[in-house]
Amino acid sequence: MKNISVIIRNLPFNTHKNAEALRMSVGLTLREDKVTVIFMDDGVYTATRTKPEIINIPPPVREFGALTMLKCKMIADKSSLEKRGIKELIENIHILERDEIVRTISESDIIIPF
């Protein structure tokens, strides 16, 4: 069993990339590996309550739902949130200090910055 970390660092707007990173994370769980999704820098906006459907982009409800169902760990970097004044995230995202995020990354067998 491997530890796989998927890191989402960029804004979720004007792109399907972040939703695709989440879909990929769902897929990566299929061989019993442990997948952790990490939101940091501008990537933390992916885990906020945005309404992309207003501009005709499907919200990543299905992706987050599947990750929750598969008990995939989802974590957000506290300092990235503070810097942006983000107070609230969607459900099932754990807020961790930067050093804990770094530890998670350094303990991973595979790191995928998406």
Binding site: V26, G27, L28, R31, I110
Partner: protein, 108 residues
């Protein structure tokens, strides 16, 4: 081709950018070098990475023994037609690559 005392390794590569990105050339050169050393190489293409199957140099890696799988869903979204020698697979194939390889590199 490979020296006998070297351990054969499995290398996995994820490519998510389209061919105009320099990642394509890097992936081609790394794959060729790894094959030259006798290592196994498996590449998974998803997102805009699926467009790479249309470039001759990239698709030619299959003839060098590189296993290439692509996310058929992303290919369908982008109207990328099937190419011989390339597996139009799923995220399950990506999970198999990640699970089976000794080293994994991501290009995005």
């Amino acid at each position: 081709m490979e020296s006998k005392d070297k351990k054969n390794m499995k290398l996995g590569i994820l490519l998510t950018t389209s061919p105009e990105n320099e990642n394509t050339n890097t992936v081609i050169e790394i794959s060729k070098a790894a094959r030259h050393e006798g290592h196994d190489v498996s590449i998974f293409l998803m997102y805009d990475g699926v467009y790479n199957v249309n470039t001759k140099d990239f698709a030619g890696l299959a003839e060098k023994g590189v296993e290439i799988a692509i996310c058929a869903f992303n290919a369908e979204q982008r109207k990328v037609a099937k190419v011989d020698g390339i597996l139009f697979g799923s995220q399950y194939d990506h999970a198999c690559i990640a699970s089976d390889v000794d080293r994994f590199i991501s290009f995005g």
